[in-house]
């Protein structure tokens, strides 16, 4: 467990990296956080598909700019919550099982406490009172939002009454979607996520053993065919209704890995605006069919290769954390334990919408500043042909503000003359476990970061610093508490200059 008071337990935090530039602006971190830093879970955020107003139509940017799951930039600043009001599901997927009572794992479909729509409405107010970054409430299960239409739409109705400025979204497998597009419009749900793992039933039959549709259970190829047709129809109907659609796809090596390029083409043509290719989670301990039959998940490199291949004129989402169906907080963190049903009444009573408005105003200014800083650094790199990967330890806000030892994930950016682009996150074990160093975690951290040229952190101890250097990864703490993109580019420029210096000496 990560504990803010344990930060002093980091040993040997001497900062020595070379050439710290002297004149850098340091802008204070948002003071809008109420509660203490998150307990457990990683509290970092990352920038996913790197979009900003510049490379996106204005009407779409307006819809996604505060949505952490739809905009990589927003997910530095805004928080989401899922309310677990939809336990039933109408299909069986081989990567899912029906156990939902584990507080210690984070993956889609898992939840600790089912909520009634009334409890969910109260929970939203409680979270909004405690977390001013909250901008979005989604219904993502633990089953399928639209396999529980009465509960899902009752929840939306209650939220709209009590906190009308909160954006609503839902995710679905698409089977029941065509039946509910009108209602989705009625409740002003402007974002829908459809999980589409195939556009060919031949592939689909290896992912979905059965579906329940029109009062009948269908199996195998027939099931996959119906599901595919309903997904495509639903996607087209949402697009026609002007509702933004994100498509999630689970990358299953050997089953749909090559096929996902085709999926990408088809969903793009049908109007999806963002594609999120996620790795299969198949730990045998979860008891899923794939887990029990030894189906492996993809490596980080395989995932990135496919994402790179699919990234043409369509946004690829790379910041997805595959959250639980009751996750609360910034992406990558989960504060759901602070909002169990016994505490909701007391917290909800303190709800004050002005705190969230003040936070949004702050973020607008911060973002403009961040972009200007990045543009300035980018200009200095014009003409450089090299690229490098840089890992960053961050707790959110778009800044390098986490100790190396406290990071439970690192965000990875590709830096080049084109700018700093977020390309993924790497989950790791904490190096610093409650005040003492966890030497055993280091090999797996080095492994997770092996393709990175540097790791940018707020602080790092002497031992891990030496180990990183020995592995050819440069530990950098010169940019503590500064903007991620601008700092990554500044580091890159320094590296190029150092290299040039070395070359000219040789010459």
């Amino acid at each position: 467990m990560q504990n803010p008071s344990a930060q002093t337990g980091m040993s040997g935090m001497s900062g020595t990296a070379a050439g710290a530039p002297a004149s850098r602006r340091i802008i204070p971190i948002a003071s809008a956080h109420s509660g203490a830093a998150s307990a457990g879970g990683c509290s970092s955020s990352s920038c996913g598909s790197g979009e900003g107003p510049a490379d996106m139509p204005a009407h779409i940017w307006e819809k996604v700019k505060d949505h952490p799951c739809y905009s990589s930039e927003a997910h530095h600043h805004f928080a989401r919550m899922h309310v677990a009001v939809a336990p039933a599901c109408n299909i069986q997927c081989n990567y899912c099982n029906r156990k939902y009572d584990c507080a210690n794992e984070s993956r889609p479909g898992v939840v600790s406490e089912k909520l009634t729509p009334e409890m969910a409405g109260k929970k939203v107010l409680a979270v909004a009172a405690e977390i001013p970054q909250l901008s979005v409430v989604g219904i993502a299960g633990p089953g399928d939002a639209l396999a529980n239409p009465a509960k899902t739409f009752k929840t939306f109705e209650l939220i709209q009454q009590s906190a009308p400025d909160i954006k609503l979204c839902l995710s679905t497998n698409g089977l029941a979607l065509p039946d509910h597009v009108e209602t989705i419009k009625k409740f002003n749900v402007d974002h829908v996520t459809i999980t589409i793992n195939m556009v060919d039933p031949e592939v689909g039959q290896h992912i979905y053993p059965w579906i329940f549709h029109n009062h009948k259970r269908y199996h195998g190829l027939e099931a996959a065919k119906i599901l595919h047709e309903r997904q495509m129809l639903g996607l087209e109907m949402l697009t026609a209704a002007g509702i933004l659609v994100k498509v999630n796809s689970v990358l299953i090596p050997g089953i749909n890995d090559h096929h996902l390029k085709e999926v990408n083409k088809v969903v793009k043509a049908k109007g999806a605006f963002l594609h999120n290719i996620m790795p299969l989670i198949s730990d045998p301990a979860h008891g899923t069919h794939f887990g029990l039959t030894g189906q492996r998940g993809p490596t980080a490199a395989e995932l990135k290769a496919l994402q790179d291949e699919c990234e043409g004129d369509m946004k690829l989402m790379r910041h997805c954390r595959q959250c639980r169906a009751d996750a609360v907080g910034m992406l990558g963190e989960d504060r759901s334990q602070e909002f169990t049903s016994d505490k909701l009444d007391a917290i909800a009573a303190t709800y004050d919408p002005t705190a969230r408005q003040a936070y949004r105003d702050f973020v607008e200014k911060e973002r403009a500043d961040q972009r200007a800083a990045e543009a300035e650094k980018k200009a200095g790199l014009a003409g450089a042909s090299e690229k490098a990967l840089v890992a960053v330890a961050t707790k959110g806000g778009g800044r390098i503000n986490q100790h190396f030892g406290h990071a439970s994930e690192f965000q990875v950016y590709e830096v080049s003359a084109a700018g700093a682009k977020f390309v993924g996150h790497r989950k790791v074990e904490h190096y610093c476990a409650g005040g003492y160093e966890e030497e055993e975690a280091m090999p797996s951290i080095l492994d997770a970061l092996q393709d990175c040229a540097a790791v940018l952190v707020a602080k790092i101890g002497h031992c891990p610093m030496k180990e990183l250097q020995a592995a050819g990864i440069e530990p950098v703490q010169d940019y503590a508490h500064e903007y991620i993109e601008a700092s990554a580019l500044a580091w890159f420029q320094q590296r190029l200059e150092r290299r040039q210096g070395a070359t000219s000496l040789v010459a």
Partner: protein, 71 residues
């Protein structure tokens, strides 16, 4: 009056409850159960018993302690 829910395998998702044409399934203390005198095995409603077809946990079985439903 013929089906029952195996409570140890039930995940309490409620998929069966919303499909039952007889409103014979109810939730009590977080567990679902079938009212034996309300269950018609879906005879006259659908080809397949809806609770069994919808149940993701496959935990609904014939209740042998009561006679099969006669339409």
């Amino acid at each position: 009056m013929a089906y029952k829910i195996n409570a140890s395998a039930c995940t309490a998702c409620g998929a069966c409850e919303q499909e039952c044409p007889n409103d014979a399934i109810y939730e009590k203390n977080g567990l679902f159960a079938i009212k034996a005198d309300g269950c018609t095995e879906c005879i006259g409603h659908y080809d397949d018993p809806q609770c069994i077809a919808a149940c993701p946990a496959d935990c609904i079985v014939v209740d042998k302690s009561v006679p099969r439903y006669q339409a």
